[in-house]
């Protein structure tokens, strides 16, 4: 099995190389058969990489500890789903996983487009395969997952198999970790398709906005996966690391956020090109930047140039990435400069108050935010290089800079969609803004009365509810028009409205999710944190919560030994739940971890309904100095739930936007009422 995997990887590398050469030569010498064979080689390479990944998965499940990777990332007592997740929890495996997803994306993109967009294919194949080639070089020659353990025997080195493996890092033994890396990788890898087609369109001087139409869905899917990946990463950090928060501005967290920011900017600014033929150079630059940042993110995570709480796999592959990144940067820059004339667009702006200018500001803010994150993340390196002093750039820095930027972005989220393309009249602005503004202000005032005394939090609440107000108003107006024309109830009208223009209303749903996300962020301004050392029977009171320690026990499974605290939680003397934070000691790896108890649990809607406004977050941090009392970290985290709800809404919105729009269906019973002026608005 290991030989099969190893040879598949090597063969995939050969096919990959062949497909690049065949595509280039076939294009230059105009040989369609050669081009076709290049496309088929992509499919073959994909098949081989999938076989290799499958082999590694099977070997992991079979506990074949002859392989160095498996011996150091799995053990016999590990539950099956974590054995499978061990596939992407170490350096070698995760890079193979990247290659696997990348080859699947490349093969699908080629299979779908090779007949309809034949002229774009050669260079798209070259770009996709060049990226895959880089990862296959790493898989084959730098960090091979199929490397066998050897020891010196009497007749030279011999393969040996330890009786049990070193086990999976306990921090990674969490359900979110089973799906978080694949999601993030799908996001990273997904951007390679728009990147490849953009590059190809640029090199071949392909006419019009074809590449945008081809890749629109790819971009949205990649963005959606990236969103899920980033949020799941936050959820994992929240549930596993035990520091009470979900986002600590750690370099690896930042690395996943960077392409998300440019990707979001790209999703908005391509609309300018689709609708008005504007910003052609800018869009090219954005998609290049997004893909480069995806690679850069992988580089940061994998190379260990910056110390991080998330860096679970490090080795000397930094130089490979550095060379690849510089090559990519050079190629993108060179092609973009050579084709500037082709991208020239005769842009005009009818009015300063228009959708176009709001998109420009949206892009500006997203990029400024991206730059600030990048700058802060790299500043320790810059500082060390320039002044020779190591410094830290942590959460206080990022919060100070990102909070105002984020709030401005939230403001634009509310304002932008209400501007019409080309020109917006003062009258329509007044009509669209007055009520949401009042709504937002009212909620902010109520929050102030109920004790929210944080400036940024109040602004965020105001803006979030302003955004929610504008979106609700948009749905309401559209649905009202449909109701006037056709016999439908409100729900039916809203669904019909959404189906007629899925991109627009799906976009609104995503914005609604963003507003919820910000409401979740607001909660972090009001976190309460207490530490207590307790014996069984002790009580701790934090604000209106009372924690009664029932018992401190010890439990043992095959995989770990756990010391567990059973704590009853009361709110205003009403019993809420019994929580059991644990401290585990994993036998195979010999490492302790904390098992945080969070209430309400996400999978239990009844609990959430009972207590939707704050998470109770208990950490059994260990034993106190006397070895009798348990150290308990108690966090009351308000509104965190809304971060996950907001994320789910964003994903739902993306799903809506991916469905093709349907024109109004004739034959519905219509009301005999005079159409109003607003009918035209919806049609527009």
């Amino acid at each position: 099995m290991d030989a099969l995997g190893s040879y598949s990887l090597l063969l995939a590398f050969c096919f990959c190389l062949y497909s690049i050469l065949a595509a280039l030569i076939g294009h230059w010498k105009q040989k369609p058969l050669l081009q076709q064979s290049a496309e088929r080689a992509v499919l073959a390479a994909c098949g081989l990489v999938v076989v290799a990944t499958f082999c590694l998965a099977v070997l992991l499940l079979r506990d074949d500890f002859r392989l160095a990777y498996i011996a150091s990332h799995s053990n016999r007592a590990l539950p099956v789903y974590f054995k499978f997740a061990a596939l992407w929890s170490g350096q070698e495996g995760s890079l193979l996983w990247w290659s696997c997803l990348m080859s699947l994306f490349a093969a699908t993109a080629v299979a779908v487009n090779r007949r309809t967009h034949a002229h774009l294919m050669p260079y798209a194949v070259v770009a996709l395969m060049a990226v895959l080639l880089f990862f296959l070089i790493l898989n084959n020659f730098a960090v091979n997952p199929f490397r066998l353990l050897t020891a010196d025997g009497p007749r030279g080195p011999e393969v040996f198999s330890p009786p049990d493996g070193g086990g999976l890092n306990p921090l990674l033994q969490h359900p979110a970790m089973v799906i978080h890396p694949p999601m993030l990788y799908l996001g990273f890898v997904g951007f390679s398709v728009p990147f490849a087609f953009a590059l190809s369109a640029l090199i071949t001087r392909s006419k019009g906005e074809q590449w945008i139409r081809i890749t629109r869905h790819w971009t949205m899917i990649a963005w959606c996966f990236l969103t899920i990946g980033v949020l799941l990463g936050g959820r994992w950090a929240y549930a596993v690391l035990g520091w009470g928060g979900y986002w600590g501005w750690d370099p690896v967290e930042n690395a996943s956020l960077l392409p998300w920011l440019t990707g979001t900017a790209f999703l908005h600014s391509v609309m300018m090109q689709e609708k008005r033929g504007m910003m052609k150079v800018w869009n090219m630059g954005l998609i290049f930047a997004t893909f480069l940042l995806c690679i850069f993110g992988t580089f940061l995570t994998r190379s260990g140039v910056l110390s991080s709480v998330h860096a679970f796999a490090q080795s000397a592959i930094g130089p490979y990435f550095a060379v690849f990144l510089s090559l990519l940067l050079f190629v993108c820059g060179f092609v973009l400069l050579r084709r500037l004339d082709f991208l020239k667009s005769e842009n005009q702006l009818d009015s300063l108050a228009s959708r176009e200018s709001s998109f420009l500001f949206n892009n500006l803010i997203l990029l400024a935010s991206c730059f600030a994150v990048l700058w802060g993340t790299l500043f320790p390196l810059i500082s060390e290089a320039v002044q020779g002093v190591k410094i830290s750039v942590g959460a206080p820095y990022f919060n100070k800079i990102q909070v105002p930027i984020g709030l401005f972005l939230l403001f634009l989220t509310g304002v932008g969609p209400l501007f019409a393309w080309r020109r917006t009249s003062m009258e329509s602005l007044r009509r669209n803004f007055t009520r949401p503004l009042i709504f937002g202000a009212l909620v902010a005032i109520v929050s102030f009365i109920f004790g929210a005394r944080n400036f940024y939090a109040l602004v965020a609440i105001f803006l979030a509810f302003f955004v929610i107000g504008t979106i609700t108003l948009e749905f309401f107006r559209g649905a009202r028009v449909i109701r006037q024309k056709e016999e439908r109830n409100w729900a039916g009208a809203v669904i019909e409205l959404t189906r007629r223009n899925t991109r627009r209303y799906g976009g609104y749903v995503i914005h609604f999710g963003v507003a919820l996300l910000f409401i979740g962020f607001v909660g972090s301004a009001f976190t309460i944190h207490e530490q207590a050392e307790v014996l069984p029977g002790d009580q701790v009171t934090v604000r209106n919560y009372r924690f009664v320690v029932q018992s401190l026990d010890q439990q043992e499974t095959d995989n770990h030994i756990a010391s567990q605290a059973r704590i009853d939680v009361f709110r205003n003397d009403k019993f809420l739940a019994t929580l059991t934070p644990e401290r585990r000691f994993y036998k195979a790896s010999g490492q302790p971890t904390t098992e945080v108890a969070i209430w309400p649990h996400l999978s239990k809607p009844l609990e959430i309904l009972q207590h939707p406004h704050a998470d109770i977050y208990l950490v059994f941090a260990g034993m106190a100095e006397d070895n009798q009392r348990a150290v308990l970290q108690i966090y009351i985290n308000p509104l965190v739930l809304w971060v996950w709800v907001g994320g789910a809404v964003m994903v739902f919105g993306t799903g809506i936007a991916l469905v093709p729009s349907r024109p109004p269906q004739p034959g519905r019973p219509t009301r005999k009422r005079k159409p109003t002026k607003e009918r035209d608005e919806v049609a527009a």
């Binding site: 069984p536 010391s563 302790p592």
Partner: protein, 228 residues
Amino acid sequence: MKSPRKPISRLSSLGGHDFSRAETAQHVRTALAAEGSLKRILASGAKAHFNCGKHAARLKPCPPVSFDPGAKKHAALALLACLLLAAPLVAQQPAEQAAKDAFQRVSDKLICQCGCNYGLSHCPHLECPSAPVLRAAIRQQLAAGKSEEQVLQAMVADFGPAVLAAPPAEGFNLTAWVMPFVALALGLWLAIVVICRWHARRRAAAPDPYLLERYRTNLEREMKRLEE
């Protein structure tokens, strides 16, 4: 396979590994009393067996434990000093709250030195060699009447500027704070220039050729459909 629950007293020697921080804290306190510089304490503290996040995350074996035999006396003295200094604070509730807030503000501005990359108030590793020392030192210095600024300066003097969670806005580090806003201002200027140019073009030029083209193709398509 779960075994019956065992009493808590056995926690300290789970699986033959040290699972408590008692020895760690004691070691640290003695060193604090004996050596004075926190940096040196951590240097010697690294000798102790700490299953801190860094070691856990990177699968490195933790270094072996070694303790100073004459440490207990120093520890008792240090503990006594801490208690004496802290005593007046317990008497007054508001003062206690103020001290707690001050402690929180200071520790929010610092980073734990075990290599875990967490803020000092957040480092979740109990066996962490650094966080308990730093926290104790902050409490001690605040109780001794030092201002928050002075405590921070003392920390920087001991550990270097990397102990601060955000770089101080002075000298070269100022660029860390200024650059994002310089970039934003530059972008803003660029956006305004672009908008003005587009706007001016509109005044000068005939209808947008791109739009005309789109309208024309739309028109042709509609005409074709009508003919069919």
